[in-house]
């Protein structure tokens, strides 16, 4: 381990991507993630990499599509309204099975909304914001250190399964500075990408990267193949942190920065004799359903705390499957719940 550095979340994303071997970045400015682009604009020319400020988010994601089809490790980053524009390209990336990484430093919507932290793009990321039956791997770091580790991991997952991996953060995570320790060397998944378009060199048949299959039988088979891949990812790539859940009176579930608030609430509650557990999904897709099944009958109730009107709570309900009541507490518009608010909600649920 090298020395600890104090770095901004957004800069850590860029640094992590570079350490993961990414040499191609395409993006368009939008608050609150633009520091990723600033960092890349400085770093890429020095290492013979590519930084392109695209004319739009639409163009940026299609540049990503091209670079991924050409066999490169490639990154784009944006924030909610920009990610809406990228949905077309995301669907094509899924259809053509290309590996790529996208960061969404979420801000509040709908529309132009606001720039403060939010988790209102859970549905868009996890359920598929574009057209077609597809999935993206969605990773939700809750600290700057984890932002680094998961960004590196995202490139490996993407290459391994030929899939888009989304790092889902929020303005708080992107803008904050925290200590980060980089490894001396990253574990990088090696793949020869024989399918990529690199020029045949007259040594092989030509490669095509496409998402169009006009024949229904062929397209159904293509879809079945995708679904089989998604199942494999569900089996192998689910990530979750469980804390204090054994004998918990109530299990709170939260992801990203909100989970940090909940950890403080757990300490406050302990002083009042309330045992609060936490299930923190790190991969939002695949969702850690098994972890919820495991603890489904442990607490009196579940509570999902989110910076949204209630999105992840739907997956929590599916996972708990009616065995216990699942409650929700959320704030919107960039408002962040205080520890006291969450504790009050817990007490209300437990009638304390």
């Amino acid at each position: 381990m090298a020395e600890k550095l104090l770095m901004k979340g957004n800069e850590v994303i860029a640094e992590a991507a570079l350490r993961a071997g990414c040499r191609h970045y395409f993006g368009y400015p939008i608050t609150p993630q633009t520091e990723v682009a600033h960092y890349m604009a400085k770093a890429m020319p020095k290492i013979n990499g590519t930084f392109v400020q695209a004319e739009s988010e639409v163009a940026a994601i299609n540049m990503v599509y091209g670079a991924a089809a050409a066999g490169a490790r490639v990154l784009t980053s944006s924030s909610s309204p920009g990610v809406s524009l990228k949905q077309e390209g995301i669907s094509y990336i899924a259809g053509a099975e290309l590996p790529a990484v996208m960061v969404n430093i979420v801000r509040c919507g709908p529309g132009l909304g606001g720039i403060l932290p939010a988790q209102c793009d859970y549905f868009q990321s996890v359920k598929g914001g574009g057209h077609g039956d597809y999935k993206n791997v969605v990773l939700a770091p809750s600290s700057v250190q984890e932002l680094y580790e998961l960004t590196v991991e995202a490139f490996n997952i993407s290459d391994k399964y030929r899939i888009l991996t989304i790092i889902l953060g929020d303005g708080m995570l992107g803008q904050m500075m925290e200590a980060v320790e980089f490894k001396d060397k990253e574990d990088i998944y090696q793949d020869d990408k024989k399918w990529a378009c690199t020029g045949t060199k007259m040594e092989r048949e030509s490669n095509d990267v496409t998402s169009i299959y006009i024949q229904p039988e062929i397209l159904e088979n293509h879809n079945l193949k995708l679904q089989a891949k998604y199942k494999k990812i569900e089996e192998n790539e689910t990530r979750v942190e469980t804390y204090n859940c054994e004998n918990a009176d109530i299990i709170v579930t939260a992801y990203g920065t909100v989970a940090r608030i909940v950890k403080n609430v757990i300490k406050m509650a302990e002083k009042e004799g309330i045992k609060v557990g936490l299930i923190r999904p790190i991969s939002l897709w695949p969702f850690p359903t098994a972890e919820f099944e495991k603890y489904a009958e442990t607490p009196k109730a579940f509570l999902s705390v989110e910076l949204s009107a209630g999105q992840m709570v739907e997956d929590v309900r599916l996972a708990v499957n009616g065995k216990r009541p699942v409650h929700f507490y959320g704030r919107m518009g960039g408002m962040v719940p205080s520890q006291k608010e969450v504790l009050d909600k817990i007490k209300e649920i437990l009638n304390k």
Binding site: H24, F26, T50, V52, A54, E55, S56, V58, A59, A60, N62, M63, V64, Y65, G66, A67, A68, A69, A70, G71, A72, V74, E88, G89, Y92, A96, C197, T198, G199, T200, K201, M202, E203, S206, N207, D208, V209, T210, S211, I212, I214
Partner: protein, 248 residues
Amino acid sequence: MATVFKKPHALKDLSLHYCPGCTHGIIHRIIAEVIDELEIEGTTIGVSPVGCAYNNYEYFHVDMVQAAHGRAPAVATGIKRVHPDNYVFTYQGDGDLAAIGTAEIIHAATRGEKITTVFVNNAIYGMTSGQMAPTTLMNQVTTTSPFGRKPEIHGFPIKVCELLSQLEGAVYVERTSVHDVKNIRNTKEAIKKAFKVQQANKGFSIVEVLSTCPTNWGLNPIDSLKWLESNMLPFYPLGNFKGKDLEV
């Protein structure tokens, strides 16, 4: 016996799916001949559009990427930035390039991306069955301009070469046609030069090829060629708009 005519190597031995009399096939053949003559088959990567030529990646013996509608120049940008020593071309129709993909083509051109665009302009949407294109002529009847294109309702056609030639990053801009042998030859020369511009790392190159759509124009193949000549040429003048004397 001496071979006097054969299929270019860069073109696969498949029958094309285009309608009878459609000139896409001629343009495909020209591209393949150019790739053969420049001996760049092993280093060329193409980008297919959305439109009638959506699956032309099946026809070329080169690596190809199928792009979303209008996004081929952005996709080609991504490819070229990863493989700067390869030849990268996009093949796009008028709806793809001049309507839904206007931003992408203008910005790829102004960035001076070292790619070549073959822009097939037949003044109509083919694949979706005959709607008005951004290049549809005044008074031309289409399924979405059933009483003819009127300026007060539909506005005016876009002249792509004239537009792009204003951009510094676009270094070679030429409009050609494939309605007769002489013009087919000119088209080949232009596309060859456009690829050489890439070879010389000079900037963005585009050849707009005036083409026919007998099916959606409601004309037979011969009359389509005549229609192109008498209606399209007066509005879309042929010739070089930029880079005529460019050393490549």
